[in-house]
C-alpha cells in the first residue's frame, strides 16, 4: 500500500527534493483537485444517506397489521444489531408505505439518465462532439424529468391525504426523496456548467473532467436511489 509506505517513512533521515517528485506523490497521483473534492463529497453524502437508512431501520418495528412481515424484519441482522442493541423499543405504529407505481417509472428515467452520462463519456473519449452535445443534453433532461416525476409523486400522495405525519414510513419517504432530489439538483448545476460549455463549442479537454465527474456522481446518486427505493419496497 502506497499510503502505508508513505506514512511509515522517516522524514528526519531523508533530505532533498529527489525523494519526492512533487505534489500528488502520495498515492493520489493523477487525481485532479476536482476529483478529490468530489470523492470526498461522495463520502459526506454517503454518511448522510447511510444514517438516514440506519435511522429508518431503527425506527422500523412492528408492522401493526402484518405480523409475518414484522417477524421477518426483526429476524434481519440489520434490525437486530441496530435496534436491539441500541435499546430502541420497537415501534408499534409502523405502517408500510404503498409505493405509487410512478416511482418505478421515475427509477427507469433515472437509469436512462445515468446511461446517457455513460454514453457521454464514451463520446468524449472518441471525441464525437456532435453526439456529445445530444447525450449531455439528454442526460440532464432525463434527470429533470426524474425530479418532476418525484414531485408528482409527492403531489399525488399529499392529494390523497398521505402527508408526512400519517406514518413513519411515509415520513422517511419524504425525507429520503427530498435529500436525494437536492443532491441531484446540485449535480444539475454542474451539468449545466459543463453542458453550456459544450454547446458553446468548448474543446474536449476543457470539459473532460466535468463530464467524467458528473457521470460518476450520477451513477452514485442512482445507486443511492436504488438502495432507498429498495428499502421502501421490502419494508
Amino acid at each position: 500500500m502506497k499510503l502505508l509506505r508513505e506514512l511509515t517513512k522517516r522524514p528526519w533521515l531523508t533530505k532533498g527534493l529527489d525523494s519526492d517528485p512533487g505534489p500528488g506523490a502520495d498515492g493520489i497521483r493523477g487525481a485532479t483537485a476536482a476529483a478529490t473534492g468530489m470523492w470526498f463529497y461522495v463520502g459526506v453524502a454517503s454518511v448522510m444517506f447511510s444514517l438516514i437508512v440506519a435511522a429508518y431501520v431503527l425506527r422500523l418495528g412492528n408492522y401493526g397489521a402484518d405480523p409475518a412481515a414484522a417477524a421477518a424484519a426483526k429476524a434481519s441482522l440489520a434490525w437486530w444489531t441496530l435496534a436491539a442493541i441500541c435499546g430502541i423499543p420497537p415501534a408499534d405504529d409502523w405502517a408500510p408505505m404503498a409505493e405509487p407505481f410512478l416511482l418505478w417509472i421515475n427509477t427507469g428515467v433515472l437509469i436512462v439518465s445515468s446511461i446517457a452520462w455513460q454514453k457521454a463519456r464514451g463520446d468524449l473519449r472518441k471525441r464525437r462532439m456532435d453526439s456529445l452535445r445530444i447525450t449531455l443534453t439528454a442526460a440532464g433532461l432525463f434527470a429533470l424529468v426524474f425530479l418532476a416525476g418525484q414531485l408528482t409523486v409527492w403531489r399525488q400522495l399529499i392529494g390523497s391525504g398521505q402527508f408526512a405525519a400519517v406514518g413513519p414510513a411515509i415520513a422517511f419517504f419524504y425525507l429520503m426523496t427530498a435529500m436525494h432530489g437536492l443532491h441531484l439538483l446540485g449535480g444539475l448545476f454542474f451539468w449545466w456548467r459543463t453542458t453550456s460549455k459544450v454547446l458553446n463549442g468548448a474543446k474536449a479537454e476543457e470539459i473532460a473532467a466535468g463530464v467524467n465527474l458528473c457521470a460518476v456522481y450520477w451513477h452514485y446518486l442512482l445507486l443511492v436511489w436504488i438502495v432507498m427505493f429498495g428499502l421502501l419496497l421490502i419494508t
Binding site: E6, G22, A55
Partner: protein
C-alpha cells in the same frame, strides 16, 4: 510521460482585486477569509462568554439579576454551550487557522477552490446571524440544552420551543453546509496542492491535526444535519421520527412511536467526533509551538501523526459513552467503555511526547510557549477525569453533575482555548507584521491559567457532592452543605476575573496592530514554510513568482553542526547531510 502540473505550481497571475471591497469583503484570498472567520467566531464567542458570566452571577447570587429568570437561565446555558463548541471553536480552529495555515504551511498560493472557500465564510456568517436572530424571536432562543434532546426540546414548557428551536436547527444546518464547503477545500488542498518536496510526512503537525479534524468534521456533521432536519419535521409538520406518544400539559400530543434515543445516537455520533474536531487541530498546533519554542524536534513525529489518525478513527466508535444513563443495553455500555478507554492510549502517547520534547530542550518561555505548557496541564487534567467518566459504573452517579461540567470544560473548553491563545501569539507577528507586548501577554496568561483552575477545580468537588448541572438554583437542598454556596461564589469571582482579563488580550492585539514594533519575519526562528514568505504579512499569492521548495521535514531544530539552531524547510541539504538514499 505527462508533465505534472498542479494548482500549487500554477504560476498564472492571480486575480488581484483592486477595490477595498474586493480585497477585504468579497475576497477569495485564504488569508482574508481566515481573518473574517476568526473575527466572526471571536465575536460570537464573546456573546457566549458574557452569557457564562451571567449564569455564574445567577449561581453565586441567586435572584440578584432579576432578568435572569429560570427560562432565561436555560436559554443562556444552551446558547453558551452551542456557540462555544460550534460557532467559536470549530469555526475558529478550522475556518480560521485552517484557512490561514494550510496554504502557507504546505507551500500553496491559495486553497484549491477559492470561490467555494469565500462562499463558505458567507454561509457561516448567515448561520451566525440566524443564531443571533433567535434572541429576538417570540419566546426567545431555545433553552433545550446544547444537546437539544427531544421530546423536551420541542414540547411546551421548554423555553423557545416554538421559534427558538427552529432557528437553532436552521442555523446548525446552514453552518454544516458552510463547514462542508470549507472542509472539502481543506482536505483537497492538503492532498493536491503541496509544493515540491512537501511529502505527507514532511507536513508540520499543525497541518496533520487540521487535516484529520476536517475529515472527522466532514463525516460527523452529516449526523447532526440529518438529526436537525428530522427534528424540524417533527416540530413543524408533525412527523414522529423522535417523538414518542406523549402527554404534554395534560393533553396527548399528535405523535407516536418515535424514538428519542434515536436522536441521542445521531447527536452523539456527531457530538463525540466534534470533541476531536476541536482537539486535533489543537494537538497539532501545540506540537509545533512546543517544538519551536523548545528548539527541539518534536519527539516521535511519526507516532504523533499516527496517533492523530488513530484517535480520529476511534472517535467514531465511542459516541455512546455519552448515553450510559439513557437506558441502552448494558453490553453496549461495555463496548463503549472499552473503546473509550482504548482512545486513552494514543492520547497518552501524545502527552508523553510533548513532555519528552520539552525534556532537556532549550526552552524559551515566551508567551506562546506559556500557553502551550498551560495546555499540557489542563489537558492532562481534563483527560484524567475523562477516564473516570468513561467507566459506566463511575459515570452513572456523576452523570449530569458539575463533575461533568468541570471535566468537559477542562478538556474541550479550556485546553483548546489555551492553544488558540498560544497560536494567536505565535502567528500574530506573521499575520500583522507587528509584535505584541510581552508583559501584557504574560499577565493575560497567568490570570487565565490560574483563573481557569480556580473556576473548574471546585466544580469537580461540587460534582462529587451531587450538585446537578443545568439547575437554575439549588434553594434549600438538604444533602448539600453550606460550603457549596461559598464555592459557587468563589467560582463566580474567578470566572468574572478571567472574563475581564480577556480585555488585556484584546487591548494587546488591537494596540499592537497599530502601535506595536515591527516584527521580524521569523521572530521565533521557526523552520516551517509560513515563516519563509517573501513578505510579512504574506502578500496575495503568498510566495512571489516562485513557489518554495521543501528539502527537509519541519523539525530540524538544534541540528548538531548546523550554523543556527534551526534549518528552514526550504534550505537544501548541506554537503555533509546525507541526501535521500535510493
Amino acid at each position: 510521460m505527462t508533465t505534472y502540473t498542479t494548482i500549487a505550481e500554477d504560476t498564472r497571475p492571480l486575480h488581484h482585486p483592486k477595490t477595498w471591497v474586493g480585497k477585504y469583503v468579497w475576497s477569495q484570498d485564504h488569508k482574508v477569509i481566515a481573518i473574517q472567520y476568526s473575527l466572526t467566531a471571536v465575536g460570537v464567542g464573546l456573546v457566549a462568554l458574557v452569557l457564562s458570566g451571567l449564569m455564574r452571577m445567577q449561581l453565586a447570587f441567586p435572584g440578584m439579576l432579576e432578568f435572569i429568570t429560570p427560562d432565561a437561565y436555560y436559554q443562556f446555558v444552551t446558547m453558551h454551550g452551542m456557540i462555544m463548541v460550534i460557532y467559536l471553536l470549530t469555526a475558529l480552529l478550522l475556518g480560521g487557522f485552517g484557512n490561514y495555515m494550510i496554504p502557507l504551511m504546505i507551500g500553496a498560493r491559495d486553497m484549491v477552490f477559492p470561490f467555494v472557500n469565500m462562499l463558505s465564510y458567507w454561509v457561516y456568517l448567515l448561520s451566525v446571524i440566524v443564531l443571533m436572530a433567535s434572541f429576538f424571536v417570540p419566546g426567545g432562543p431555545t433553552g433545550a440544552g446544547w444537546t437539544l434532546y427531544p421530546p423536551q426540546a420541542i414540547t411546551e414548557g421548554t423555553p423557545g420551543a416554538g421559534w427558538g428551536i427552529i432557528m437553532m436547527l436552521a442555523s446548525l444546518a446552514i453552518f454544516i453546509v458552510a463547514f462542508t464547503m470549507g472542509g472539502l477545500n481543506y482536505v483537497t488542498t492538503v492532498l493536491q496542492a503541496r509544493t515540491k518536496g512537501m511529502t505527507l510526512m514532511r507536513m508540520p503537525c499543525t497541518i496533520w491535526g487540521i487535516f484529520v479534524a476536517t475529515i472527522l468534521g466532514l463525516l460527523a456533521f452529516p449526523a447532526l444535519f440529518v438529526a436537525a432536519i428530522m427534528m424540524t419535521l417533527d416540530n413543524t409538520i408533525g412527523t414522529s421520527f423522535f417523538m414518542p406518544a406523549i402527554i404534554s400539559g395534560g393533553a396527548a400530543l399528535d405523535h407516536s412511536g418515535g424514538s428519542p434515543i434515536l436522536f441521542q445516537h445521531l447527536f452523539w455520533f456527531f457530538g463525540h467526533p466534534e470533541v476531536y474536531i476541536v482537539a486535533l487541530p489543537a494537538f497539532g498546533i501545540v506540537s509545533d509551538l512546543i517544538s519551536t519554542h523548545a528548539r527541539k524536534n518534536i519527539f516521535g513525529y511519526r507516532m504523533m501523526v499516527w496517533a492523530i489518525i488513530i484517535i480520529g478513527g476511534l472517535s467514531f466508535i465511542v459516541w455512546a459513552h455519552h448515553m450510559y444513563v439513557s437506558g441502552m443495553n448494558p453490553y453496549f455500555g461495555f463496548f463503549f467503555a472499552t473503546s473509550t478507554l482504548i482512545i486513552a492510549v494514543p492520547t497518552a502517547i501524545k502527552v508523553y511526547n510533548w513532555v519528552l520534547t520539552l525534556w532537556r530542550g532549550d526552552i524559551h518561555l515566551r508567551v506562546p510557549m506559556l500557553f502551550a505548557i498551560g495546555f499540557i496541564f489542563t489537558f492532562i487534567h481534563g483527560g484524567l477525569t475523562g477516564l473516570f467518566l468513561g467507566n459506566v459504573s463511575v459515570d452513572v452517579p456523576l452523570s449530569d453533575t458539575y463533575f461533568v461540567i468541570g471535566h468537559f470544560h477542562m478538556v474541550m473548553g479550556v485546553s483548546p482555548i489555551m492553544v488558540v491563545f498560544g497560536a494567536i501569539y505565535h502567528w500574530y507577528p506573521k499575520i500583522t507584521g507587528r509584535m505584541w507586548n510581552t508583559m501584557l501577554g504574560q499577565a493575560h496568561f497567568w490570570i487565565t491559567f490560574l483563573g481557569v483552575y480556580a473556576i473548574y477545580l471546585p466544580m469537580h468537588y461540587l460534582g462529587f457532592l451531587g450538585v446537578p448541572r443545568r439547575y437554575y438554583e439549588m434553594g434549600d437542598t438538604a444533602f448539600l452543605p453550606e460550603s457549596v454556596h461559598d464555592a459557587n461564589v468563589g467560582i463566580t469571582i474567578a470566572a468574572l476575573t478571567v472574563g475581564a482579563a480577556q480585555l488585556i488580550f484584546f487591548y494587546n492585539l488591537i494596540y499592537s496592530y497599530f502601535k506595536g514594533p515591527k516584527a521580524d519575519p521569523n521572530p521565533w526562528g521557526a523552520t516551517t514554510l509560513e515563516w519563509q514568505t517573501p513578505d510579512t504579512p504574506p502578500a496575495h499569492g503568498n510566495w512571489g513568482p516562485e513557489l518554495p521548495k521543501v528539502y527537509r521535514w519541519a523539525y530540524d531544530y538544534s541540528v548538531p553542526g548546523a550554523a543556527r539552531d534551526f534549518i528552514p524547510q526550504t534550505t537544501p541539504p548541506g554537503p555533509d547531510e546525507k541526501p535521500h538514499e535510493h
